[in-house]
């Protein structure tokens, strides 16, 4: 059945896109260092990418919302990331690295929200939660395998090999995308263009951002990342300080452990968010953050690091799935799903940068334990806000009418 083929395509798409996305991050710094770039120059290049991604998140989201065929946006994202990898592999000159970072910034702000949009179009709201959980499972497995393979390629072949591999993996990602049909088995998503006639663009955007539920959730997301982003780097640096002989193996393990937990748990998170509602699941995920901070502050040992990374896996699984679900819940009437995901992407970036700065300053001034307690406090504040102020957003959608006339008219 064609629909089955589409769903299998979606599995593989998530797997390969995670492969392609893993090819960046730490490898760029290593690669440029090998080409004798200075730390400040590498920092500058990476900042270009971050800023591009930050600035383009919301416009890209708004654009994807107007697309009839969301697969185009995924296609653009995958092709751009492969192109970025090629630029890196061919020549690490300043011009091409800057160009690559711009392209990568744009692509990374489009690709994950666009996959969520393709998923929503394919399965509809009723089956969305379960499917988002499954997406997260395949992405996590893909990311974990890619990190292992690319790490090996980086150390045994060359940093350059990582980029060739990344560029090549764009091909199976695009093939998986081709397996995905237009969807529309009794499902129907609202396109922004359909509401546009009654409402000018800016008024619609204004209405969206005055939605108290979205504002509350965005603050919860900021607090999540303020608490979360600096936690592992700070703990890993402590391990390097106290147990340098264990550092490489232990830190590699603690990076893989949450990936495994996300792969195992995400489908459950998806199903349970429908059965129990978003709120209890989100509180479960958020409350792991203050627990980690307190544990690190109390006992900065290798065991604490392992336990904390397990908790971190739980919060990552919950966050990854519920953020997409809440965005879909809040926008199913106005179709501004990707704009909302873009806005939440900005919230993530803001939270993460506050976290790194805050933890650095606190660790220098008051010591590492105080820094961990500060991060725990931010997590506790986020959890409390979620518990006291965030309303339940899940409402069971009405069963889809049997008529096929409501199918989304998509070509291709």
């Amino acid at each position: 059945m064609a629909h089955q083929r589409s769903l299998r395509g979606l599995d593989w798409l998530n797997f390969f896109v995670a492969n392609v996305q893993t090819g960046f991050g730490p490898f760029i710094a290593v690669y440029l260092t090998e080409h004798r770039w200075k730390t400040a120059e590498i920092g500058f290049a990476l900042t270009i990418g971050t800023i591009c991604s930050l600035v383009s998140q919301m416009p890209a989201g708004a654009l994807v919302d107007t697309l009839r065929d969301k697969r185009l946006a995924v296609w653009f994202g995958v092709a751009s990331i492969s192109g970025t990898a090629l630029l890196y592999a061919l020549s690490p000159t300043q011009l091409s690295v800057y160009a690559a970072e711009v392209l990568h910034g744009l692509a990374s702000s489009v690709i994950s929200p666009a996959i969520a949009a393709v998923t929503l179009a394919l399965v509809g709201r009723a089956a969305f939660s379960e499917r988002v959980g499954r997406n997260a499972r395949f992405a996590s497995i893909g990311g974990g395998i890619a990190a292992g393979v690319m790490g090996a390629a980086g150390s045994f072949v060359s940093a350059n090999a990582v980029f060739w591999l990344t560029a090549a993996l764009g091909v199976p990602a695009l093939l998986a995308l081709r397996m995905i049909g237009p969807g529309a088995y009794g499902t129907r998503i609202v396109l922004v263009s359909e509401t546009e006639s009654d409402q000018p663009f800016l008024a619609g955007v204004k209405e969206l951002f005055l939605d108290r539920r979205l504002l509350t959730f965005a603050v919860c997301v900021v607090m999540f990342f303020v608490s979360n982003a600096a936690m592992l780097p700070l703990a890993a640096t402590q391990i390097t300080k106290r147990h340098p002989e264990l550092a490489d193996v232990l830190i590699a393990v603690t990076i893989v452990v949450p990936q495994l937990i996300v792969a195992a748990m995400s489908p459950w998170v998806g199903r349970s968010s429908d059965r129990l509602g978003r709120r209890p699941i989100m509180i479960l995920g958020w409350i792991m953050l203050p627990m980690q901070g307190i544990l690190y502050a109390a006992a900065p040992t290798p065991y604490a690091l392992l336990v904390c990374q397990m908790l971190s896996g739980v919060s990552a699984a919950v966050f990854g799935v519920t953020m997409t679900l809440v965005a879909a819940d809040l926008t199913h009437e106005n179709g501004r799903f990707n704009l909302t995901l873009g806005a939440l992407g900005v919230a993530i970036a803001v939270g993460a940068s506050i976290s790194t700065t805050l933890a650095g300053v606190a660790a220098d001034a008051f010591g590492d334990s105080a820094a961990f307690l500060g991060l725990a406090l931010a997590g506790a504040a986020g959890t409390l806000l979620l518990w006291l102020a965030m309303p339940e957003t899940w409402m069971t959608p009405p069963p889809p009418p049997p008529s096929a006339a409501l199918a989304v008219p998509v070509t291709g």
Binding site: T237, I239, T240, D248, I251
Partner: protein
């Protein structure tokens, strides 16, 4: 029409920038000095990013930078060690006298007269601040 001319001008500007930025490269290639083939300079090594061996013979990270004084003399080395996959490394400064360059060890000629555990007691090195250096630095 106005838009066309802006586009044209942008393209012209971009091409000009590309050409101008290519000129120094060509120039540099042309005035490359004649290489003097003397044995004095044979067997030289680059050291940035090379691995460092600690007192126990374990890998103690990479030589990240060399800190020199006003006379251009190396006084301290910055070593980047620990962590995995880009997470959790530290940078510390050690006195130049604590590094030895052992030609007989072809694989990792840079040896450090400290253990990794001792590096853990040093504060994190940051550019622009006075480094806390162990060793005499001479």
């Amino acid at each position: 029409m106005a838009r066309d001319s802006i586009v044209t001008r942008t393209i012209v500007a971009l091409v000009t920038i590309m050409l101008v930025s290519a000129v120094p490269m060509v120039a540099r290639a042309q005035d490359k000095p004649q290489a003097t083939a003397t044995s004095e300079f044979s067997g030289l090594h680059g050291v940035f990013g090379e691995h460092v061996k600690d007192l126990n013979g374990d890998d103690a990270g990479r030589l990240w930078d060399i800190l020199i004084d006003d006379a251009g003399k190396p006084r301290a080395a910055v070593i980047d060690y620990g962590g995995a996959l880009g997470v959790g490394q530290r940078k510390v400064a050690v006195g130049w006298d604590l590094l030895q360059f052992v030609a007989a060890d072809a694989k990792t000629p840079i040896h450090l007269a400290l253990t990794m555990q001792q590096l853990g007691t040093l504060p994190e090195f940051k550019y622009g601040t006075e480094p806390a250096v162990v060793g005499t630095g001479q």
